[in-house]
């Protein structure tokens, strides 16, 4: 969806019915959207601009862009960020303009769109990631150095040397722990304040107790200090935490890229007929917005001038475009197809259809039971158990007659050796590996929980238009005297943006024999009458393409009712009987649909179809795909209620949908997926975003989710086995610091290596590359 291009559209004045005193705009609109709105100007006259480039995927693209612009004297700096698909330009004010650079990049063959980078959200994300990395760096530095000193102590340092080493360790460890432990301390404190125990509570307790006791031991010339253990613990746990964060950021930036392509700017027409560009956030009620054919309507409003056909499929799933005329109500998210429209904005912000949908989504979210992740469930058993064992050890040794330092020392050994390092890494490592595999195969994963949920799914609910189909029409049949007329009609159809015309034109594009028969030049006076059809003159006769009525077809041709989508053509030379043709179309199925549904059914999943479209096409689609349960003409709230009912009856539902109307049900479902062609509401809501056309990769995603869960369980089992061996050793007081340190690192490494096995497993899954089903 290229938003920013030159448009030259011929409009026949008679088709634009003025509803105000002002004259209709010129015959030709020449529009250039102004992207200088997105540039940022710093104090020294340096202008910055960020562009998101969707089709920049590899090192080749990166160096091509950098090389092209690096010798450009107009620019101060150009830098490509490949992970975020951003190109950042900097130049001195006056040396060039944002639009110039944008056009250069477009000419180079890249699909760019402006991106406002001084967004607060991005900044929050970045600082959080940085804080974690900072903690990680500090913990790593301190752990390495303290470990160095500890090894010296273990290898036999005594007396004053040992004390010196302990004091040095304390000097490094205490500030480092205070700094790097904050993510855990604050989370543990929050959990305790609300009366819960989470994994961070034993971690914080172990770290603080170990540091406290070590300090005490150091001050009293004691033999053992635990600074190294406390720091390594923090280091490993911070790795887990950082990986977790990294995965969420990755998915988030992917979604942001997708959203950058949605309309962010609109053309405004003021009272004098002057056009200007405004970001959508600045549009107010009463402003007049110009929407050209092929563009998405950016606001809710009423049509003032112009007639057109409007594609409602993103909003309610209807596959046939609807006519629109002055006075009709339109909503943001609809796509204008055939004629330019001037729309008076009637609603912004809270009062739009969109916010109505968002309200429904919030309600669905509140009603949905909170999902407890595997890590949560493990922690709820593990955390109290660890505390109990530690307490038990302490009191046991006290009763046995050991001094309190010794008992506490053993109890801390227990806390450290049972440290949920392996447990803390068990889930995030697997999820990061899984997310990178999914990303490689064109699936964006918003968070790790979604993958866990996906492995438990037993019901899959599809939306129809845009989800099972591509919303791309193909010619399915020709009737009557079609052969003689069809290539002529297809030539005429080339001049229109209407989906039926485009489908007809592309059906004939590759047939060279017919191309030679007529040349486009032979068609004269081509006109498009939005909402009706097209006409042209050919060798003195009149050629028409459009509805039954538009083509003046007499009733001897009975209406053919085998398809919803049809286009009539007629050719009539003066005094002769018209030649008539009928073309029927079908919405093209998304590749991989058949295979996906077959696989799902083979796995005993309940497959259902919910659509906002009319009964007849939905039924036909259900029969074609062998789906037994289907419902048509569903409104957004009905869909949502239906999904909630399924959930209450114990089904775990995966909802796959793309429209604005699917938003609430995507939220209400156990987990959800939407294709990247979907509306932004659907994409933001869904847990997964499918980046390519084929639904086949969903099979691979299911397999990935299953093995990821298996690996997480294996990791838990490994942690359990480790604990069963290590805990008795610690409880009976045999855990010297070196044993604890080695055991801890070893368990973490095994868990990480086990997670990496997912790469091997995933290579045999069914992704879309395999075969065409």
């Amino acid at each position: 969806m290229a938003l920013i291009t030159d448009h030259k559209i011929n409009v026949t004045p008679s088709e634009l019915v003025p509803s105000t005193q002002r004259e209709v705009p010129d015959k030709t609109f020449v529009l250039q959207k102004d992207i200088s709105l997105f540039q940022t100007v710093s104090g020294h006259g340096v202008v910055g601009l960020d562009l998101i480039v969707a089709n920049m995927n590899c090192a080749g693209c990166m160096s091509k862009i950098e090389r092209h612009f690096s010798n450009d004297t107009r620019l101060k700096k150009v830098r490509v960020n490949l992970s975020q698909k951003l190109v950042h330009f900097e130049w001195l004010e006056g040396s060039t303009t944002a639009n110039e650079l944008f056009n250069d990049l477009t000419e180079l063959g890249y699909k760019a769109s402006p991106f406002l980078n001084n967004n607060d959200l991005v900044e929050v994300e970045r600082t959080e990631m940085r804080r974690l990395l900072l903690c990680l760096g500090v913990a790593g530095f301190a752990a390495a150095n303290v470990m160095l000193l500890s090894v010296s102590v273990w290898s036999g340092a005594t007396g004053a040397t040992r004390d010196l080493f302990h004091w040095l360790s304390a000097l490094i460890a205490i500030p480092a722990i205070a700094f790097a432990g904050r993510p855990f301390f604050s989370s543990a404190w929050l959990a305790l304040k609300s009366g819960h125990l989470n994994m961070d509570v034993p971690i914080s307790l172990a770290v603080i107790l170990a540091t406290g006791l070590s300090l005490f031991e150091t001050a009293t010339h004691g033999e053992h200090a635990f600074f190294d253990a406390a720091l390594t613990l923090l280091f490993f746990l911070l790795i887990g935490r950082t990986l977790d964060r990294l995965m969420r950021d990755q998915a988030f930036s992917g979604v942001r890229q997708l959203l950058a392509f949605k309309s962010t700017i609109a053309q405004i027409v003021d009272a004098d007929g002057q056009q200007s560009t405004l970001p959508i956030s600045q549009i107010e009620v009463g402003m007049r917005v110009l929407v050209l054919p092929g563009e998405t309507i950016p606001v809710d409003g009423e049509i003032l001038i112009g007639k057109s056909d409007i594609d409602w499929s993103l909003v309610n799933g209807e596959s046939v475009p609807r006519n629109a005329k002055p006075g009709d109500e339109v909503f943001s998210g609809l796509v204008n197809l055939s004629g330019p429209l001037e729309i008076k904005t009637t609603a912004v912000g809270e009062t739009t259809l969109l916010s109505e949908i968002i309200r429904l989504m919030e309600q669905a979210n509140e009603r949905a039971p909170r999902y407890r992740t595997l890590a949560d469930r493990a922690a709820s058993v593990y955390a109290p158990l660890v505390h109990l064992i530690a307490l038990f050890t302490f009191t046991g040794w006290m009763l046995y007659g050991m001094p309190w330092q010794g008992s506490l020392y053993t109890a801390i050994s227990v806390l450290i050796i049972t440290c949920p390092c392996a447990l803390g890494l068990a889930v995030p490592v697997v999820q990061v590996v899984a997310s990178s595999i999914a990303h490689k195969h064109g699936l964006l994963m918003k968070d790790g929980t979604a993958l866990e949920k996906l492995s438990e799914i037993d019901t899959v609910v599809f939306d129809k238009t845009g989800t099972l189909t591509l919303s791309k029409l193909t010619l399915s049949g020709k009737f009557f005297e079609a052969d003689r007329l069809s290539s002529l009609a297809s030539q005429l159809a080339k001049n229109s943006l209407h989906p039926l015309s485009k489908a007809l034109a592309s059906a004939y594009q590759n047939r060279s024999s017919e191309k030679t028969k007529f040349s486009t030049e032979a068609l004269l006076d081509v006109e498009e009458h939005p909402g009706l059809g097209m006409r042209a003159t050919y060798e003195g006769g009149e050629l028409r393409l459009g509805s039954f009525e538009w083509c003046n077809i007499d009733d001897t041709f009975e209406t053919y009712d085998g398809a919803d989508l049809m286009l009539w053509a007629s050719y009539c030379q003066a005094g002769e009987k018209p030649v008539v043709a009928l073309f029927t179309f079908e919405d093209e199925l998304r590749p991989g649909v058949m295979g996906l549904i077959r696989t799902l059914k083979a796995q005993d999943m309940d497959v259902q179809l919910l659509s906002g479209d009319r009964q007849e096409p939905v039924q036909r689609m259900a029969q074609l795909l062998n789906i037994d349960h289907f419902k048509a003409e569903m409104k957004p709230d009905q869909k949502c209620q239906y999904i909630e009912k399924l959930g209450r009856n114990g089904s775990k539902v995966l909802m796959i949908g793309d429209g604005i109307n699917d938003g609430p049900s995507l939220k209400a479902a156990f987990t959800s997926l939407s294709p990247s062609s979907a509306s932004d509401v659907a994409q933001v809501t869904a847990n997964f975003v499918l980046m390519n056309d084929s639904l086949k990769s969903i099979i691979g995603l299911f397999q990935l989710a299953k093995s990821a869960r298996a690996l997480i369980y294996q990791n838990f089992a490994l942690a359990l086995v480790y604990n069963m061996i290590a805990v008795p050793i610690a409880v009976f007081g045999y855990a010297t610091p070196i044993v604890a340190a080695i055991a801890m690192s070893l368990s973490s490494m095994i868990v990480t290596l086990n997670a990496l096995r997912l790469h091997l497993l995933a290579s045999s899954y069914q992704w879309q590359e395999d075969d065409k089903l």
């Binding site: 490509v80 960020n81 390495a144 040095l168």
Partner: protein
């Protein structure tokens, strides 16, 4: 024992230098584009010596 008086500060100092290097890299956005950096190193656009 007296060796330690030199060696320990040196060891700690080197470690601290490493940490400073990391902090410098973090501050200079070196970790913002991990994917791009991985590819950039293979990009062989140096001019050959004559």
């Amino acid at each position: 024992m007296s060796n330690l008086l030199f060696l320990i500060p040196i060891a700690l100092g080197l470690g601290f230098l490493g940490l400073l290097g990391f902090l410098w890299a973090l501050k200079n956005n070196q970790f913002d584009d991990l994917e791009g950096s991985a590819h950039r190193i293979l990009d062989d656009d140096d001019k050959p010596l004559k």
